[in-house]
Amino acid sequence: MEKRRTIIMGVAGALALALSTSACGSSLKASGSGDSATTGGGSASGSVKIGELVALSGAYAVVGKDMRNGFGLYLEQHGNKLGGHKVDLDVVDEGSSAQSGAAGDTRLAQQDKVDAIVGIVSGPTAAAGRNIFDAAKVPALLGNTGSVVLGKDPSPWVWRASYDNGDPGRLLAAHLAKDASAGSVYLMGADYSGGHETMAGFKQKFPKARIAGEVYNPPFGQTTDFSPYLSKIKASGAGSVFVFEPGADAIQFVKQFHQFGLDKTVKLYGAGFLTQGQPTLKAQGAGALGVYNSTRYNWDIKNSVNEAFVKAYEAKYKTLPTVYAATMYDIAIILDKAIGTIQGDVNRASIKKAINDMGSVQGVRGTLSFNKTNTIEQEFYLTQVKKTADGVRNVIVEKLGRS
């Protein structure tokens, strides 16, 4: 009997392992201000201390790396200055769990006493950060998550410079509602806030009668075989499917969608991240071809700021910028402009006021401004994966309108 007890214990152990490996890796490293030019000085000495909270380890490390690259490129191009002030950059690892993220929030807001916080990959980190930033009165510009809760209960200290999780679905739904050839649409999302909020956005703007079905799968590598979900989509007779799957799940979903031949009869639409980044496109292979995305950024957006950005990014990192890198580059542009207008002390309060007074700004995503919930207003694009002379790429097909 003892053995059986041990094996049950093993099940519990493995469960803990499955839930915690990514988290473990991160909290060990949650102190990496390795490359901060620690001059110690606060804002009074003329420098501005920026806290960058991004995932350096765990499941979101790929996203975090691109975010750092985007922000880092802007600083490098501008002599490590924002608004004329030397930047003291404090990079902290967000990890991949809500706990490690909240620890990073607290550290930057209270212990490291930064003048502004940028970054944040995941919704739970931002949701936990909302009250921490609000209480500490530190401006925070979110570069990736579009957590809906921050729009419902906005803090004057937190700006979603990224998007609202509902935006890609809302704008795509409005587009597809006018397009009878799209047929009925099946909705599928990863079973966590990001998936549900994205699908909720779609349902707001799409006729209920044309929604063929809706299903949510366990997220973050817990679903490795998508075939049962694909069978459901197939059986529903949907003409299109709108999907939210992050990271490794996106790779497997797109590959299997192709392997089971669904791409021959069903149009595949993603919420902006389904075929994001060249490593992902490479892993998806032929399956990625033809996949659509509703996104706030693509490398071929036509404006001079973006054209210069893409050229510099490719030269430095030997790959096209992702939406993650582009959003952080825009945040650097916003901070540069806002801080540049400050007369007198650069501190938390003056940065907040400067962002509020800024009006609109020209970023790589075009004209950007914040609405009254501190959420960014921007253009959205429909992209499709195509074979180009430079290899397989996401290419803009048309504009979907402003958020």
Binding site: M1, E2, K3, R4, T6, I7, I8, M9, G10, V11, G13, A14, L15, L17, A18, T21, S22, C24, G25, S57, G58, A59, A61, V62, K65, V215, Y216, N217, P218, F220, G221, Q222, T224, D225, S227, P228, Y229, S231, K232, K234, A235, G247, A248, I251, Q252, K255, Q256, Q259, F260, G261, K264, P279, T280, K282, A283, Q284, G285
Partner: protein, 296 residues
């Protein structure tokens, strides 16, 4: 028949996943039965196979040659890791299950972090070899040829494992070591060699399972732990130390994961553990317990 032609894919997927799970679980159950070691790093072995597949077989396309090379490498690497783990766990054999669980849990973390250091943090895919990457037409709809190959290969492996353990003298020695080690030693057989060979074989099987699962699941950081968890559930359901039970348990879990999503998607993640709880409540020895009781 109408239901079958639209849903046959679910059944085939369940069988394919079940056979991959069997390859994982059978090594785990034999090692546990024989050496009294619950190797929680078995999932990390699986992950090793997936990453070797990504690097050696290829990510976007693979040839028969590159996939075969990956297979041979997986067997070799698996055997080496198995021997290394055997040596590392030996000093703890007398120290109870908790110490071993902690050691292998720690080693699992080390191995999976090392893989990320070596292969990077990006998520990767593994290509199926040659024409197996395409789909075949089955009952009027497309089905990935590779999954059919996995089913065939999985059945061959399952039959092979069963034949070796049940019908050969080497298998008889392994089974004898599981049920009564002192008696085997008394017969003049070097038990340590038997155990090392078994550990090596079981580990190689787990690494190969990771490679074979690669074209279905890809190579990313979490796959090892998820598979380990399912393999442990399989062992509980099937009955500890029993090859036939492990095969039955693996089929049940594979099919449940596949059909369960179709029937009740919101309950899918509970079904697996629900089945385990039911088995524990009504048939705690497992569905097909080993003929010789392995409890000591």
């Amino acid at each position: 028949m109408g239901w079958f032609s639209t849903n046959y894919a679910l059944l085939l997927n369940g069988v394919a996943m079940g056979l991959l799970l069997f390859m994982m679980a059978v090594g785990l159950t034999v090692i546990f039965g024989m050496l009294d070691i619950l190797n929680l790093a078995h999932g990390a072995f699986f992950m090793v196979g997936a990453y070797l597949g990504y690097r050696i077989a290829g990510e976007a396309t693979a040839t028969w040659g590159s996939f075969a090379l990956a297979l041979v490498t997986c067997i070799a690497v698996g055997a080496v890791i198995g021997v290394a783990f055997m040596l590392m766990t030996r000093p703890l054999v007398a120290r109870g299950h908790m110490d071993q669980a902690l050691l292998t849990l720690g080693l699992a973390l080390v191995v999976s972090q090392l893989l990320l250091v070596v292969f990077g943090k990006d998520d990767h895919a593994v290509a199926a070899p040659g024409r197996l990457s395409q789909s075949v037409s089955l009952f009027g709809s497309a089905y990935p040829a590779y999954r059919l190959a996995v089913i065939v290969l999985g059945l061959v492996v399952a039959a092979g494992v069963w034949l070796i353990l049940e019908k050969t003298s080497a298998g008889a020695i392994v089974r004898a070591t599981v049920s009564d080690r002192p008696m085997v030693e008394a017969c003049g057989i070097d038990v340590r060699t038997v155990m090392t060979a078994t550990f090596a074989g079981a580990s190689a099987l787990a690494v190969v399972a990771g490679l074979l699962a690669g074209p279905i699941q890809g190579a990313s950081s979490g796959i090892g732990d998820n598979t380990l968890l399912l393999a442990l559930v399989v062992i509980v359901i099937g009955g500890l130390g029993s090859v036939a039970g492990t095969l039955l348990g693996a089929m049940i879990i594979g099919l449940m994961q596949s059909v369960g999503v179709m029937v009740a998607p919101e309950l899918a993640s509970f079904l697996t553990f629900g089945a385990m709880v039911l088995v524990l409540a009504f048939r705690p020895q497992g569905l097909i317990p080993a003929r010789v009781p392995v409890s000591r």
